[in-house]
Symmetry: C2
Subunit: 118 residues, 2 copies
DNA sequence: TGCATATTTGGTAAAATAACCAAATGTAAT
DNA sequence: ATTACATTTGGTTATTTTACCAAATATGCA
């Protein structure tokens, strides 16, 4: 691969990769509804604390979430809530299947929709 | 994980995962410039034919690209060129680092920028 | 028909990921 | 200071991913 921009390529891929796991996807959607502490995520996902912690570390490492310790708890939040625009588009891709992808994937963003608040 | 929508979650994650590899990222960007045949991608990436073929299969499986056989060659194209909007946003995230992400990630789309043609 | 070209498929080994448990760390309250 | 709670880190094992090679398949041309 001819790569003056190999590093950029890897960085971008890393961000997508971080979103490429159902549990982390769930977390991102959860955090889109507002920050929450690790224990809340553990409750929602139903996996081991350590597992959740590691998934959160992946998202953090990719720059998708930020964490803040307050008292005994650590709170995570989406660093960029607009990442949900992506997610909603992808959702449409999934729902509408292969055929309509072309139209559908573009829609949400171009009309400036943002359904984070729902 | 409480999952009436577990399947949806997995499908979305799969799409992100497909984008989560430098080589596949490169391919998507290459295809954003217009369809091309497998051999052109092989040349660009510099990996084995079989490796490229398998990466393309991942993208196809995820519904990101489509293939069409013409003569001896197989041509691939982006099923949804607007997926590049995502990629460019992510690019900004990478460039601007953690601090500015919040503003930057949103920009490209809201101003309707689309640099596919460059 | 038979050959060369283009691509995919199958197999295998190395590397990366993911889940859990146990132990370590940091913080607050006693 | 000790204890309890919240989270992270380290270790282990199972699974998945990736890359390459070799072999199979498909297509066009001699």
């Amino acid at each position: 691969m001819k790569s003056s921009n190999m590093l950029m390529l890897e960085s971008k891929a890393q961000i997508f990769k971080a979103l490429g796991h159902p549990t982390r996807m769930w977390m991102v959607e959860r955090l889109a509804g507002g920050e929450c502490c690790v224990c809340e995520i553990v409750d929602g996902v139903g996996a081991d604390f350590s597992t959740i912690s590691k998934h959160l570390a992946v998202l953090k490492q990719a720059g998708i979430v930020a964490d803040e310790k307050r008292g005994k708890q650590v709170f995570y939040r989406l660093k960029c809530p607009c990442i949900m625009d992506f997610v909603h588009c992808i959702e449409n891709v999934v729902i509408n299947g292969a055929e309509e992808q072309h139209q559908v994937l573009c829609c949400g963003l171009e009309e400036g929709k943002n359904e984070l608040e729902r």
